[in-house]
Amino acid sequence: MGSTMTGVQDLFLKILTASLHGSRLSGEEIGKNFWQVWQEMKKIARQQAVSPLIYDYLLSWESGRMPEQEQQYLKQQEFVTAMMYYQMVNFVFMVLELLQKQKIQGCILKGVGMAGYYPREELRKAGDVDLYIPVPEEFEAFCKTLKENGFEREKSVTDHHRTYYYVSDGVKFELEVHIKPINTQENAAFNKEVDQIFAPFAAGQGKEFSKAEIINGSVPVLPPEENAFYLLLHMLQHMLSGGMGVRLLCDWVLFWEKEKISSEELLSMVRQCKIEGFYYLVTGICVEYLGLPMECVPWMEGRMPEKERMERLLEDMFLGGEFGECDSSRMLAVEDRKLGYFKELHRQMLLRFHRAGKVPLFWPFLWAATGIIFLYNNKHLRNTSALDIIKSARERGKLLEDLKLFEDWES
């Protein structure tokens, strides 16, 4: 079967691969008509939040062939991205200082904690800061500290983190303080296993955080195996809602190339949560399309997924953008069965009304309220219809089933 990707998507992945690895494509690979497809590629790069990597490649290797005006534009963009990254790094150290003062144990999830793996850390676009404080008492204490230090809390419908804003010199920073690595999913058994894996952190014993080196110091991060597992969970979480983009795969590629990870330890977590299918699928895409050398993931030998399946996921990524925002009807993926929609409604109700939701007597009212909010938000915020969302959820549910994300490889 032939490839379902367009020529521009294919070239985009090649340039991205070269940028991640500091290599150069031949003139033949770039093609004579590159500047004719450049606008389309620029759009893809923006949708996938990897523009800095694509721009950097072109400025480094193709500036001689680039129209002068375009070169100036890319340089300016790169300068702005670098400045935003430095601002973010300063913000991270400010938050870590608050953490240190309180003697609270916490670590940075993804974001700046991943940037050091990039050829130039400024190239990893960072939108917010995710801080993981696993011990519940310390989490509460730190949230109080944030309030005392001028952070404003924003209401968010999720049970795994609280969102705060901080304004400094007119710049608004977003901080997500996580009590759990990812939000509660529909599958109760999966949630239980995830909680169990991160339990040593929540108990405040038995596990030490690692350090990731960045431009002006080091930041605490999860140990390599838990960090890899978290990256995988984070991708899966987005996949099960609006969708995931190529940027998350870039993190995965560089993490495996530059970090020493015990694949046995990680595989045991993956098996515990029954997400082996997803694990092999995303890693397979990284090997096939983003230049992750097989030597870095020798356990993939004999486990490469079929090309058709990898390209179906890539197609979903290109359609949805970074987190599915390119398609306004995308919100979630529900398996094609009637109970699936109801389970999702119930889950959303518990997320939105986590206190009242503890009383089953209230549930019928809360389901109704959740439904009304859903309809209202579709009309006024998402600018789409409930029917489109339900249709998209069913289609993506079918896609997830076809992708065999939860397939047990050993049976």
Binding site: L59, Y86, N90, R120, G217
Partner: protein
Amino acid sequence: MESVKRKNGYLLRELGNSYVIVPIAGKQLKFQDMLSLNETGAFLWEQLREEKTEEELLEAVLLDYQVDEKTARRDIREFIDQAGKAGILQ
């Protein structure tokens, strides 16, 4: 010209085909005072890790770049002049 050396507390970063010098104070990056450099500027900045005279810089430039002495001397003076004004040399 007297010999010069770069001050401590700055990071040289490569961005695409250009460079920037980012001042750093403690753990804070003073990105508002970031300076752009071209390739020659970045080369000279690296050279000034150690104290050097204009003649020594000239020798280094002529060794590494295919450029005539007049152009190299002009580039060095321009860099030293601008870097001096920015207060990043000692």
